[in-house]
């Protein structure tokens, strides 16, 4: 199973959840979301390393930078490192 690293701080294994967002939520981390459908951009993260597969189109209201992904739209393809603008906290 692919390893997911968050903010150089938290690490866990991907548990075959529907999306990265679901996977992160399963860890009781306080990730933000609104639409879960790839257009609001709330669940955005920077992909520092690794590759992801797209499960739904990413068409956020505010355009993504080149290394940014929407966690509701992706699954890990390899081990990945994610960075959030506001580091995620355990709830």
């Amino acid at each position: 199973m692919h390893r997911i690293s968050i903010d150089n701080n938290i690490e866990f294994e991907y548990g075959m959840e529907f999306s990265l967002l679901d996977s992160i939520e399963a860890q009781a981390l306080d990730i933000d979301y609104n639409c879960r459908a790839g257009f609001c951009g709330s669940c955005k993260a920077t992909l520092n390393s690794g590759e992801v597969d797209l499960i739904q189109p990413q068409t956020p209201v505010c355009p993504l930078k080149e290394d940014e992904i929407l966690t509701c739209c992706c699954r890990p393809k390899t081990d990945i490192e994610l960075q959030f603008n506001n580091p995620l906290q355990r709830m």
Binding site: F18, D30, Y33, N34, C35, C40, V61, C62
Partner: protein, 376 residues
């Protein structure tokens, strides 16, 4: 300063604050102070849908076969949604347009409010399709004490802001005597009222609506009222944009670059903002008890729905910089998320009709007459 529909002053809208600056004159969208509102307009326009696009033919039979208590849950939920969208289809326009001062936000407000009227039209479409007399539902909204309780909290901030803005635009700041009463119009107080109104609108869309969505989707999870669920899916897609709009307004106000005074106001109002969320959550939990008073259904009861209220309220509070205020921090209704993803993702297609196939669809009923022209 009296409101004017075409401000004849020569000024640069890029330097104006979101609210309480110069009345907007030229509606231009080639430049923005806050491009997020322009992006929201474009996205909402691209999402335009008509309720009649959604096939509700299987819902009528489903509804007739529901046990009485499940009919009560469904109809009460629909009455509440009708109330909310009735308010939202007019209030952003009436409350915010007289004080907005940048064109992209002015037009976002109109686009947002207009799209809420589409939601209202969709409730008429649903009710017409499942009941022989829609008046049975519509007429009970104002007469039902549980529903009217919700109306008071939902319209309170809007009504206060509309009244005070009316005085402000008519009479300006100062103390005025109106009908024998002394009314104090103060811009700082108006800004506090604006901030709290935007927070209460955010709560309406981001909490109250989502609790109602949970009820709608709970039926569809059992393959019942699936047409209704498709309508609600479209409504939820719009609401995600709308709540993003109020979140952005709040964050911009809190940041203070747009209007430094609003940052002070936001800090001053933080306690009241917490209270708006907490009070709404408590009302939603009370409402859940009313919904399920005659019995619950598979997948949802008052307890689980109350947990969802806590979870979603926590999520929305964090989104605007407030802290979790309830114990439930993980989603007790994970199946809801599947209803919110985009249509390009087919989740268990064998369990529901795929919505993209329904436009111009033929039915699959075959009788002997259909084979009359066939010969070997």
């Amino acid at each position: 300063m009296a409101y004017t529909t075409f401000n004849k002053k020569d000024f640069n809208a890029l330097n104006e604050p979101m609210f309480f600056g110069e009345n907007v004159n030229v509606s231009r969208y080639d430049q923005q102070k806050h491009s997020v509102f322009e992006n929201l307009i474009e996205k909402q326009l691209s999402f335009f849908w008509r309720p009649e696009e959604v096939d509700l033919s299987s819902d009528r039979k489903d509804f007739q076969n529901l046990p009485e208590h499940e009919k009560h849950i469904f109809i009460s939920n629909l009455k509440y949604q009708t109330l909310l969208d009735s308010v939202q289809g007019r209030s952003p326009n009436v409350a915010f347009l007289p004080i907005v001062s940048i064109p992209e936000l002015e037009t976002w407000i109109e686009t947002w409010s207009f799209s809420e009227t589409i939601h209202s039209r969709s409730y008429t479409h649903i009710i017409r399709n499942i009941l022989p007399d829609p008046s049975v539902v519509f007429n009970d909204i104002v007469g039902n004490s549980e529903i009217i309780k919700r109306a008071a909290s939902v319209s309170q901030y809007y009504d206060d802001l509309i009244r005070m803005v009316g005085y402000y635009n008519l009479l300006g700041e100062g103390t005025h005597e109106i009908n024998g009463k002394k009314i104090r119009v103060d811009k700082r107080e108006l800004k506090k009222l604006l901030y709290l109104t935007v927070v209460s609108v955010n709560v309406l869309e981001a909490v109250r609506f989502y609790v109602s969505f949970a009820c709608s989707f709970a039926y569809a999870e059992r393959a019942l009222m699936e047409g209704n669920a498709k309508v609600i899916k479209l409504i939820a897609r719009d609401e995600a944009l709308h709540l993003m709009g109020t979140q952005e307004m709040i964050k911009i106000m809190q940041e203070g670059k747009d209007d430094p005074e609003m940052a002070e106001v936001a800090k001053e109002c933080e306690g009241q903002a917490y209270q708006i969320f907490i009070d709404a959550a408590e009302q939603e939990k009370e409402w859940a008890k009313y919904l399920f008073k005659d019995g619950s259904m598979i997948g949802l009861n008052a307890e689980i729905l109350s947990q969802y209220v806590e979870y979603i309220t926590n999520t929305r509070m964090r989104a605007i910089g407030l802290k979790n205020s309830f114990p439930t921090v993980t989603n007790p209704l994970p199946w809801m998320n599947a209803w919110l993803v985009s249509d390009s993702v087919q989740v268990a297609p064998q369990e529901a009709e795929i919505s993209s196939y329904l436009v111009g669809a033929i039915d699959n009923v075959v009788t002997e007459d259909d084979l009359n022209d066939f010969s070997l």
